[in-house]
Symmetry: C2
Subunit: 430 residues, 2 copies
C-alpha cells in the first residue's frame, strides 16, 4: 500500500470523505465496549473456578509449617505460598514475603514507607527537598499515579526493545542523589510487551547509585504470562535478585508479582521479593500495619495450583484463550495499516497489551473518535508520567477482555479511526 | 477472706513460703500455653468452616449490582457486603467502604494518609511540629503501636466504666490544635470490656475540636461480640455516625469494623464507615493505592451469613463457645481473690478480654512469674501508650484460645502468681 504521506491533497480529501462515511456507518452500529484496562475475559475467569473448590469445610487447614491458616499469625505468609511465589519469580522462598490481594498495594506501601520512614534507616523521603523517579515510558499508568500522588518528580526514560535506555538510566542513577527509584516492568512490559535483555538486567544489577536509598521497583507482573505455547516463543529474563547479589548490590531491588492475572484479579495473592536486609525493614513496618495477610487464600492457591508446574500449565490455558485476540488485532493491523506510514505497533509474546504508535499529535484524537463510536480505549497519554505523552502518539491496546468477535469489530473501528485522524492530520500539513 | 494488707509480717512470711512451694509445684507441671493475644480457639474457627462452602466452582459470581466479583472493579466493595457491614456497624451502606482482610490495616492507612496528604485537604501531619493523640488506657496495644511508629505524642486518658474520662477528652480536644485524634474501642473495650454510655457517645459527637483535622478513630471491633444470649445482657451503644450528624459534626469520626472474630482472623472482611465527605477523601487516595479489595471474599461472606440476622445467630455460637472460659476465669477470681485486696477485675458482657488490676508495681512481676511457669500473658504495660503502665498494675487476660481445661489451669497459676507477688510486695513495705 502507498504511504499516506505520498498522497496528493486531492487524494487525501477524497480518502477523508470516504473514511468519514465509513466512520459514520460504524458509529451507527452503536457499539459499546470498554477496552480501557487490562482485564481478563469471562472465559479466562472461568478457567480458575476450580480455585473455589480447592478448600471446603472438610479441608485440612494446617499449613506445611504447622500453622492453622484460619487464625492470626504468620505475617510473612505461609511456607508453601512463599515457595510457589518464589518459583514464579525465579527466586528463593526466604527472599519472599507473601502479601494480600494486590502487588500494586505492596508497591504503594513501599513508596509510602520510604516517604514516612526512609529506606533501611535512611532519611525519610518526605524530609527531602526533592525526590525523583525514573519512568521508562510508555509504561504502566498506575505506577506513575503512585509517584505522582507522592509529589515525586518523574523523569521519562525512553524504552527500547531491550528495556529502558540504560545509558540514560546509569547517568541519572549514578550521578543524581535525588533519584530514588525506577519503575520497571521487565518482562512483557506494559504496554509494549518488551522484555529486558540479559545486558539490561546486568546493567541494572550493577548500578552504582548516588543515593544509598535508591531502589529498583521491579514489577514482574507478567513473569509467567506467555501468549504462546512453544518454548522458543516464551521469553525468560535473568533473575534480578541473584544478579544484584553477584554484582555486590543485594539491596538494590524490590521485586513484585501477583496471581491477579493467573487466578482472579482482586482475589489473588501477591508477593514482594528482596534481600533479607530489605525484608527485615519491610517486616518491621508491616508488623505494625497489619497482623497478617489472608493465609486461607494463600493456602487455597497452593492447593489449587499445587506447584509452579501446575501454575505454568494453567497459564497455557490463559494463553490459548487470549492468543487469538492478540493475533486478530495484529492481523488486522498488518492487513489494514502495513505500508501506510501512519502507525507502528509491537508484536508481544506475552503480557496483556499491544502498544500502538500513531503519527505524532494523533493519539488523543484517535482515542476520542473510538470513544465517540462506542469503544473506550485507555486514555491517550496514560502510558506516560503525568498522563502527558510528549508526542501524543502512543495508544495502549488491551485485547483480553472482549470476545474475539468484539475484538475484531473494535480493531476495525480502531484502524478506521487511525486512518481518518491521520488523513486529517496530513491535510493540515499540506 | 482477710485482706493481705491486714496480715502481720509473720503471717505474710508464712504465706509466702506456702505460696512459693505451690508455685514450685506448678512450675514442675511444665505447662505451655500462649494467652498473649486475643485469638479464637480451634472450636470457634470450626464454627466458620461453612464459609469455605459458600462459593464453589458452580457458584454464580455476579454481585447484586451486576459486577463479576472475579474481575477488577468496585474499589469500594460490592453492594451486598456494604449492606452487611453497615448493618453490623449500625450505619447506612452509603457510608461504608468495604476493604481487605483487616480493619487494623485500614486504621494504619488512615493515619499514614493523614501524615502524607492531610485530612480532607488539611496540612499533611508530617509537616507539623507536633501531632498528639489521646489514648484511653488501658487500651489496645496495636492502636498505640501505630501512633508510636508515626512519632505521635500519645496522651493517656483514664478509662471509666462509661468510657474515657470525657472532661479530660473535651479539655484536650477543644483547646489543643495539636490533638489530631483519639483511639476508641467503644463497645466491649479492649481490655476492660467497658461500653461507652449514651452520654459518652453524645459528648464525643458534640466535641468542638480546636483542630479542623481532628478525627475520632472509632474501632468498633466487638460490635456484635456478645458473650451472653440474653438480650438484657447484650449491650447496645449509640451510633456515633448519626449522633455526629445530629450534632453538626458529620466529619468527626471514622468507624472501623471487621469479621476477623466473626469468620476467620486474617481471612475476614473489614470496613470503614464515615461521612460522604470523608469517604471521598479516602477514595481519592485509595484508588491510587489499590485497584480494589478481595470482592470474592466479600461475596463469600454475604453468601454464608446471608444477612445481619445470620451473622448475629453465628455470633451466638461463638458466645456459647467462649462464655464458659470467661466464667471459669471469673469464678476462680471470685473464689480465690475476692476480699484479699490484691486485685480487681472487670466482668465483661462481650469482647475478648478480662482486665485485671494488681497492686501497683506488681503486674510485670506477675506476668514474668506466669511465663516462668509456662503461661505467656500479654506483656505487662502493653495496654498503655509506649508500653508503659505508670502504675505497673494492669494485666490483660485473653481467655478465648485455650480449652476450658487449659484455661482453668492457667487461671489457677495466674491467681497463685498474683498472691505470691502481692505478698512479696507487701513484705517490702513492712
Amino acid at each position: 500500500m502507498e504511504p499516506y504521506s505520498e498522497l496528493s491533497k486531492e487524494e487525501l480529501v477524497s480518502l477523508q470523505a470516504d473514511l468519514a462515511k465509513q466512520y459514520a456507518d460504524a458509529k451507527a452500529l452503536g457499539m459499546k465496549l470498554d477496552m480501557s484496562r487490562g482485564k481478563p475475559s469471562k472465559e479466562q475467569l472461568d478457567l480458575s473456578m476450580g480455585l473455589l473448590d480447592a478448600l471446603d469445610s472438610a479441608s485440612d487447614m494446617q499449613t506445611e509449617d504447622g500453622m492453622d491458616s484460619r487464625n492470626y499469625g504468620g505475617p510473612t505468609g505461609i511456607a508453601e505460598a512463599k515457595k510457589l511465589m518464589a518459583d514464579m519469580m525465579g527466586t528463593k522462598p526466604e527472599n519472599v514475603i507473601v502479601c494480600g490481594n494486590a502487588s500494586l498495594n505492596i508497591m504503594y506501601d513501599t513508596i509510602s514507607r520510604s516517604f514516612m520512614f526512609g529506606v533501611n534507616g535512611s532519611e525519610p523521603w518526605c524530609k527531602l527537598d526533592k525526590v525523583k523517579f525514573l519512568c521508562p515510558a510508555p509504561g504502566y499508568d498506575r505506577h506513575f499515579a503512585i509517584t505522582e500522588l507522592f509529589g515525586v518528580e518523574m523523569i521519562t526514560i525512553p524504552m527500547t526493545e531491550n528495556g529502558p535506555d540504560m545509558d540514560l538510566v546509569e547517568k541519572y542513577v549514578n550521578t543524581d542523589p535525588a533519584v530514588k527509584g525506577i519503575w520497571c516492568v521487565p518482562k512483557y512490559s506494559n504496554p509494549q510487551g518488551y522484555c529486558y535483555s540479559d545486558e539490561t538486567v546486568k546493567r541494572f544489577a550493577a548500578l552504582k547509585p548516588a543515593a544509598k536509598d535508591f531502589r529498583i521497583f521491579w514489577d514482574n507482573a507478567y513473569v509467567i504470562h506467555h501468549i504462546y505455547e512453544e518454548k522458543e516463543k516464551q521469553v525468560e529474563i535473568l533473575d534480578i535478585i541473584s544478579e544484584a547479589e553477584k554484582a555486590g548490590n543485594p539491596d538494590i531491588v524490590y521485586e513484585f508479582a501477583s496471581t491477579s492475572k493467573v487466578s482472579f484479579p482482586g482475589a489473588g495473592i501477591s508477593a514482594v521479593a528482596s534481600s533479607l536486609t530489605n525484608l527485615e525493614w519491610i517486616k518491621k513496618n508491616m508488623s505494625v500495619q497489619t497482623i497478617g495477610h489472608d493465609k486461607i487464600n494463600q493456602l487455597r492457591h497452593v492447593r489449587f495450583f499445587k506447584d509452579i508446574d501446575g501454575m505454568n500449565a494453567h497459564m497455557m490455558k490463559h494463553a490459548k484463550s487470549i492468543r487469538p485476540k492478540f493475533e486478530a488485532v495484529l492481523k488486522t493491523f498488518d492487513e489494514e495499516l502495513d505500508g501506510l506510514g501512519i502507525g507502528t505497533w509491537t508484536k508481544p509474546l506475552g503480557g496483556y497489551f499491544i502498544s500502538f504508535d500513531a503519527l505524532p499529535g494523533c493519539a488523543k484524537e484517535i482515542v476520542a473518535k473510538c470513544k465517540e463510536a462506542g469503544v473506550v480505549l485507555t486514555g491517550a497519554g496514560a502510558t506516560f508520567p503525568y498522563k502527558k505523552d510528549p508526542e501524543d502518539k502512543n495508544i495502549r491496546i488491551a485485547p483480553t477482555l472482549p470476545t474475539p468477535e468484539e475484538m475484531a469489530k473494535a480493531t476495525e473501528l480502531f484502524v478506521l479511526c487511525v486512518k481518518l485522524v491521520s488523513v486529517e492530520k496530513l491535510l493540515t500539513q499540506k
